[in-house]
Symmetry: D2
Subunit: 282 residues, 4 copies
């Protein structure tokens, strides 16, 4: 099978590096275009990322052995460079790992889509846009049905935007979905998370705050953990998403001195007095 | 005020050292007797504890500045030594920080009490003994009313045994009690704990297991967290304790790479759909 | 003895907090004036420092129990406020823990001295100024003899500036001095340091770089470690400092995942083939 | 090329696991025999190693994907099992990662060699045996010339023993050798090491000793670091090893809170006043 050529926006950042590492030797995809800030544009990827390669260590190994390291970095703000890569056959769509202000990301991802380049985004900027699906492949693949609506709304031909949810909910959405499918009417969920420092990006959490410590609050994370599942469990109605009415989720998010991996203690309540407690790591 | 002379059993262990550090400069108590294993007996405390002083660092400072350091260590297995100390006026009661098999602790604490020496114990061995109170001063001081019954049951004159509960529940029992007192009928509690490695004693958790990691299960800890509150919230009836019927507690206990301090994420549920979420550190 | 009233410049920063903690209950000094950036000026210290109190935990305890917490923070850029405090009898001199660009610190410390307020500085800005002594009380107290020269050079009446050296050399300068005094002609020194993250200030080292890691280079630190001892061991000649000709120092500085405390492995070489190896923590 | 079948003694221990992980997909070797203590013998490897698989995480990944996991574990004390494996063609030689008393290891490794099975050992038991080479392939491959002498001394036919040196010296022996080959007459070496906790085995260093701390002494490690290089740089003379007369090595070994990897700050001195400082990680 011939591999699908993909691009990475924000390729020199921590999430961008993870995309590159995880897509090395991928059976379907091959990274053939990378773009980052103007500061990195024009450099060879290896040189642009320099000592920052391997920021999270866990998955990337001690060196950057990938073909990607020889690619010349494009300017992520210049959509025409990606369009040219697409014309050369080097890019069927992009993964967005942009690190900017939310408004800028929203605007830039729309520019790529408007230029005919589909965007699959890790950023939170477009998660609550009414015609953009927030997808977990095992849970709500049918939400992709909004894409033709999105294209029509925007007057886009080939491009579109799809996003993934916040990292904190990924561990428990799949088993929650399995329980719901099996007829367990989960009404309320209590979640305590223990989240790795890599989730805060780089430079992120100062070491003085987290060595020999936990940080018992992560700004904005609890809201995302409580609300995003409702869009994912919701449905498309009149060309927009209607949130699911439940389950009600109460989340408490802790930062722990661990490089990679999020853990969740999840208590799912259904019926009058029944409860399942899950412990999940991812 | 003249200070009350007290003794520490297991004085060279990690918990014993904490007792000594916390009782230094205490307004009521003065440590005038220390006892440990036969291996330490006969040595000066400073020498017996040697490089192991300050095992948990957090509270003890870099040196052992206390008068206690000059005391000669007694043999904890030889109750007559404590009796002699009591006769000299050096000991009104003992704090037990014994580190032995549960059966041995139970037996040895009873021997002290039988010999006329009250025992206040940190060990878990006697927590579920039917005529021994498990006390949190702010919650169930009236449980001390069982002590005359205990003395009568055992034929003890001056001695008795009282215990404290497991460290994991101390952070939330006081606010839970305050809520119950204020009329909130808490029916169910979901607890996730993040517990420091000092809770596992020394040498305890191997560093290879916990550096850059959490350990999402602590054997026996969840059972204690779920059951001990029911005795503490229970009442004395017919010369024994009757557990409280609730609240139902579901606990998940995590070990985290932190030297000192336990944290608890606690969700308290009362009435049909009301809930309070507490976040507590101690 | 009546205590000497002192002020702290940069009182809300990490080093400033350490000064306040270390001077609590000090037998000689009492902090009666605190100053910081305009952002903090006018607030009560407790409120200005807020959640950032206790940034390094090691020494400060869990709360700020000091009288200092009620002081109103002055504007460190406004020397006249310190002058007014001095007139009130609240300030005999200031400790400088300023966190600014070096040139700004140099200028501001000079302004205080010019206004009649002696400055004892933790900052590196004035360490190599030719008429300012870099003092370790046990090693070169006679370097204070430059102060009259400094005052004359600058036309200052009561004010002056004295500084302390970089933290990395404090552990070994005292034993080095003792060896030199005892006649050991140390010619070369090899130093490897293991330095805590608090030495990098706040927010300092990102946790992603240092958890489960060491960082084997600290920019600028090796130069300071190799050169500052030569001024300290030097002498005053013609109203200026002449560096000592030796010992030659070769330093390698490592950052380690420890909150507080610097360690040094020091090999001191004297005569043809003699060597002493010291291991020092501070 | 057909791969050479090898066995691992002590296969369930931490070092044994590392051998298995590092030999997965090795171009020359294939692990076809594993042996451990009688407790593990008879079990399938996957089951015998159980939750202890992946003790050091760094290299082994999240699971045990190797064919080795299906092998039945032999009894390492029963040499005849390895002999049978050799007869089946499953074992040309063994890597020894035995974790026992030194005398026991020495005796057991000799038993394998006597039974015709070559032993390449990670253990320190035989490092100073006069007819056993301590090899670093890039430095002293010619020391293998002692093997015929060893066989003759012992009356062994096919079997023999070769060992590797302590982990702390591996990082600097190769560049030291390159310098010596290039004519730099290194006379003295000052080494400070920063060594990971995995070097202490499992359960090894208690977490209470090493989280937020360094441990500035590793028993026995400094002696090994100072002496083993002299055998490696020595030569064979009259059927035995003569240590090299130098360089003189002074080592200081620190344990640091890092899972994997040893670092060395090495100062090499040659001629009267010349010095090279190396910083090496491995």
């Amino acid at each position: 099978m011939e591999k699908i050529p993909v691009g990475i926006l924000g390729a020199t950042g921590m999430v961008g590096q993870q995309y590159i590492a995880l897509l090395a030797n991928h059976p379907w995809f091959e990274v053939r275009y990378v773009a980052a800030s103007p500061r990195s544009a024009g450099k060879v990827y290896q040189e642009a990322v320099g000592g920052r390669w391997n920021a999270t260590r866990g998955d990337l190994g001690g060196a950057n052995p990938f073909a990607v390291s020889k690619l010349t970095v494009g300017d992520a703000n210049d959509v025409s460079q990606a369009v040219a890569a697409a014309k050369r056959g080097d890019l069927a769509f992009v993964f967005s790992a942009l690190e900017m202000e939310k408004d800028e990301i929203k605007h830039l991802e729309e520019s790529y889509a408007a230029a005919g380049i589909p965007v699959v985004s890790n950023a939170s900027a477009n998660r609550w846009t009414s015609d953009i699906p927030m997808l977990i492949a095992e849970v709500n693949p049918d939400h992709a049905d909004i894409i033709p609506v999105q294209k029509k709304n925007r007057g886009w031909d080939k491009g579109f935007i799809a996003v993934k949810p916040n990292c904190s909910i990924q561990s428990y959405m799949t088993p929650l979905w399995a329980l719901l499918q099996a007829g367990y009417e989960v009404q309320r969920i209590i979640v305590s998370t223990l989240q790795a420092i890599s989730g805060a990006g780089y430079p992120g959490v100062p070491s003085l705050d987290i060595i020999d410590n936990i940080v018992p609050f992560i700004g904005g994370e609890e809201e995302k953990t409580e609300q995003e599942p409702l869009k994912i469990l919701g449905k498309i109605q009149e060309n927009s998403f209607i949130n699911a009415p439940g389950p009600k989720i109460s989340a408490h998010c802790n930062r722990v001195p661990v490089i990679d991996g999020h853990t969740a203690c999840v208590s799912l309540e259904f019926g009058a007095k029944k409860r399942i407690v899950l412990f999940l790591s991812g």
